[in-house]
Amino acid sequence: MMAATVQVPQYTRKDLVADHPTWCPGCGDFSVLSIYFKMMERRQVPHEKITSVAGIGCSSRFPYFVNAHGAHFLHGRGVPFATGISLTRPDLHVFLFGGDGDAFSIGGNHLDHAARKNIKMTYVIMDNSVYGLTKKQTSPTSPLGFKSKTDPHGAFDQPINPMKKLILGGATFVARTHSHLPNHVLEVMERAMDHDGFSVIECLSECTEFYPGAFDAANPRKGGVFNPVPAEHDVTDEIAAFKLAVAPFPGYFGVFFEVQRPTKNALEAKLNAEAQAKAGTVSAVQLLQKTFQRFG
């Protein structure tokens, strides 16, 4: 009775650490990486069952820092790349990492379509509201008035509201967190990982180099207010989620929206099962021969 409950961890954080991150000191992304390791340690998922992929940007360097199979793809195309993995490999948990430029600007269209198709994966968007890798240009989430090298007089393009975009796109798990609050990040990341579908987390992650103090208003240690999603919020209520999303900055943190809808992964598998049942137990050779006999 005693012995049965003892579990010896197979994987430790040490096994999961790869290269030392190239991020600037104090970057919020360190916290996300560290929490990811902690989660993996808790979950004991073997390395080969994880794949971590990314597009382009500071945060998209993530796969190099995780000792698991990974891929560093193109700017904005991480979502469809991860889709190709997810749909062909039900045995893997696909984690996608990226920033606000990747997710909401150059790759904005892919986000909507992966959301409506409900592709099974977990997408962590580290939102610093600035282009950091290219050294301070305006990002799609930079607030009005933000001064950057491309908007020296202050940005005047309306920023994207990530929560609104994701809910509207049809994502089945939409959450918001803040890298300065590790326990909160861990909580939503674990819920996202357990979600069967397209789970997306916007994690405010400060760029200490080009946008220091951007999220202080939500950081209690900096005199800000951290507003969790109210306990009575119904995560399946799209309208209620929208209302939370339109709250002025710093807004709410937590799971805004979560519903169960069949994933494309499951629907394609069902289609295949039906097609194969109809075709009968035949080999590819027999199936091709049969098909070509009709062409005769």
Binding site: E48, F73, G84, N109, L287
Partner: protein, 641 residues
């Protein structure tokens, strides 16, 4: 084209010179069914159906082509369709031949004209002595023109009469199929079986009307129409069963046979039918085809599936290939297997969506940023579409790099018959395997031939070190590395793969003598017309040969030696003569062989080469008349839709 040869009993003999009004009249048969004795034996016929796209003339062509396939005749079709959604002039041309068909035919033996515009736009293509079969309800031909024989049939009214009034003039195509079946003594039992197979499932009423119209056409006594032609039996009867497909079908099933189980694409003409087939067929084989939100997503999904251990396929037509080029560059850098089909159409930009051009060669070979070597191969026939796709999958897998298949609109839509593929020996299972790797596994190991394969996710690494694949320049282990010496090494590694492949390839196929006055070099779907041009030129005593290049990147070995044997080299391709007087492949060959004798024969009218066009251009150049691209044929404007 229509070659009439003496029959065994010697009755109607019109060898060499084809039908004239005189011999047609003398062979005319008074009453209908006694076909056997009155039929002229022929080996080759070109029939063009000209109407509107909603008349179902494609169906007539399709049935004739499939019938030909089932009766050991070779067949090639050629069609034009309007770019508009519905309606508009359209043609379908069928060439049936006992023996190999090389092209769809320059001129037609029989023109079936449904409307006045059909008659006016296509009468020029009817050869002297040919037959104009026209719908006398809609067409008023110039009956004074005695170059050809005019046969009026009230196609519309007889069809309506035969199947009842409710169908309006639907069914005209089946009526005409019946007329043609009688005229060419086709196997009616087999045709009926095909009609049954295709139409019975569409409801009794539809099927009854189809059969009614067909029989009405077959029974129609058109008086002077009662010439009959019978095909000489094929020599090769008893070989492998023959199948009939279009080029896009051949590519789709070639991919399945090669083991492709994942693909993603975005709809675009004329690529779409490949993705439509794969969307329906792949699930039966446990595979998936995704309609992506755009071209960028499609190729990205394919890259993801290839990373996951598959050989994924994507495809498009010109504009889509432009959009995919960033990801192609990634697949080259990350050394991922990937198959990309480009069904070329007229460009640039949206260009001519329903016409043919071979103007994507440059983007296929060079389109992507950086030094980005990839494999580019081009199928020449419908059958070749099947085998080229199999080759593409094999090469992508072996060399871990993108392979582009350059097909075109003409190949995509034309129907040919070919021997049933030997699936038992061809079909491959290339499902990913996850055998443990390492220790010290390096996804980008700098091997002697440059070839290395990544470990797909799911693979246990025995030393516990897991690799990342990347589009950043990297060292052998996959770590980002911008050191000068490393970039030199890795650029050379990616290039070396293709050099090693080139060494293993056979020299390209030479048609005709290995030396002489003229060498016509071609690629892709121009193979047939070029071969036919060579046959005609050689028959006329000219010293002309042809070289067909299946591989455009890398080039096959031995080309330089072959070029050296000829006084003149003309690269025949469906693209523009360019700023310097030669087309895209000619430019590639010139940069490779530094040989100013390489010149071009090009055209940009959006239609396949006619044999005559190639020969005229060749003769003009040999005579020292430097001319530009082939100018558009009279009537080509309408033909192009």
């Amino acid at each position: 084209m229509m070659t009439i040869i003496p029959t065994a009993d010697g009755s109607p003999v019109t060898s060499g010179k084809l039908m004239t009004d005189e011999n047609i009249a003398s062979d005319a048969v008074s009453s209908r069914p006694a076909v056997a004795h009155s039929a002229k034996t022929i080996t080759d016929v070109v029939i063009r159906f000209a109407g509107n796209s909603q008349d179902g003339i494609q169906a007539i062509g399709g049935f004739l082509a499939r019938l030909a396939g089932r009766t050991d005749k070779d067949v090639m079709t050629y069609m034009t369709i309007p770019a508009t959604i519905s309606g508009g002039p359209s043609i379908y041309q069928v060439r049936l031949r006992t023996g190999e068909v090389l092209s769809a035919g320059d001129e037609v033996d029989v023109l079936v004209a449904f409307y006045q515009h059909s008659y006016e736009n296509h009468i020029r293509t009817l050869r002297d002595g040919g037959i104009l079969l026209y719908d006398s309800d809609n067409v008023q031909p110039n009956l004074d023109d005695k170059r050809y024989r005019s046969v009026g049939v009230p196609i519309t009214s007889v069809t309506v009469e035969s199947i009842g009034g409710t169908g309006k003039d639907k069914g005209k195509n089946m009526f005409v199929l019946g007329v043609i079946a009688r005229m060419f003594d086709l196997d009616v039992a087999k045709l009926e079986k095909m009609l049954q197979g295709y139409y019975q499932s569409k409801g009794d009423d539809v099927y009854r009307k189809v059969v009614g119209a067909f029989h009405a056409g077959y029974a129609y006594n058109a008086g002077e129409l009662t010439d009959h032609f019978a095909f000489m039996p094929a020599q090769n009867a008893g070989g492998r069963a023959r199948v009939v497909t279009d080029g896009n079908q051949a590519i789709a099933f070639g991919a399945i046979a090669a083991g492709v189980r994942f693909g993603a694409a975005y709809p675009i003409t004329p690529w779409s039918s490949i993705m439509e087939i794969l969307r329906v067929e792949l699930p039966k084989y446990g595979g998936t085809f995704v309609q992506a939100e755009d071209e960028l997503a499609a190729v990205a999904m394919a890259c993801g599936a290839s990373y996951a251990g598959h050989v994924a396929l994507t495809g498009s037509s010109g504009p889509g290939l432009s959009l995919k080029s960033e990801a192609i560059s990634w697949a080259i850098m990350a050394e991922m297997p990937l198959v990309i089909v480009d069904v070329q159409r007229g460009g640039p930009s949206t260009g001519l969506p329903t016409n043919v051009e071979q103007s994507d060669l440059n983007i296929a070979c060079y389109g992507a940023h950086g030094d980005a070597p990839r494999i580019v191969i081009a199928p020449a026939t419908v059958e070749d579409c099947f085998y080229t796709t199999m080759t593409a999958v094999k090469l992508a897998r072996e060399y871990s790099c993108p392979v582009i298949i350059l097909t075109d609109q003409a190949l995509a839509t034309r129907i040919e018959s070919f021997a049933m593929p030997d699936f038992e020996n061809l079909v491959q299972d290339i499902a990913p395997t996850f055998a443990p790797r390492g220790p010290n596994f390096q996804p980008y190991e700098n091997t002697a031939d440059g070839v290395a394969h990544h470990a797909p996710p799911g693979t246990p690494m025995v030393d516990g070190r897991y690799p990342v694949v990347t589009g950043l320049e990297h060292d052998e282990s996959g770590h980002p590395a911008s050191r000068p010496a490393n970039h030199v090494l890795m650029v050379a590694k990616r290039r070396r793969k293709l050099q090693r492949l080139a060494e293993k390839l056979p020299p390209p196929a030479l048609f005709g003598s290995p030396a002489g006055q003229v060498l016509l070099v071609g690629w892709g779907s121009s193979l047939g017309p070029i071969r036919e041009a060579v046959e005609q030129a050689r028959a006329a005593g000219e010293s002309v040969s042809a070289l067909h290049l299946q591989y455009l990147m890398p080039l096959q070995p031995g080309i330089g030696e072959i070029l050296g044997g000829f006084a003149n080299v003309f690269v025949v391709e469906l693209n523009d003569e360019g700023l310097y007087g030669y087309g895209q492949l000619a430019g590639l060959l010139r940069s490779r062989f530094c040989d100013p004798k390489i010149r071009g024969i090009t055209k940009t009218d959006g239609l396949p080469f006619k044999v005559r066009e190639i020969l005229e251009q060749m003769h003009a150049r040999l005579a020292g008349r430097e001319v530009g691209s082939v100018s558009a044929d009279a009537g080509a404007e309408q033909e192009a839709g």
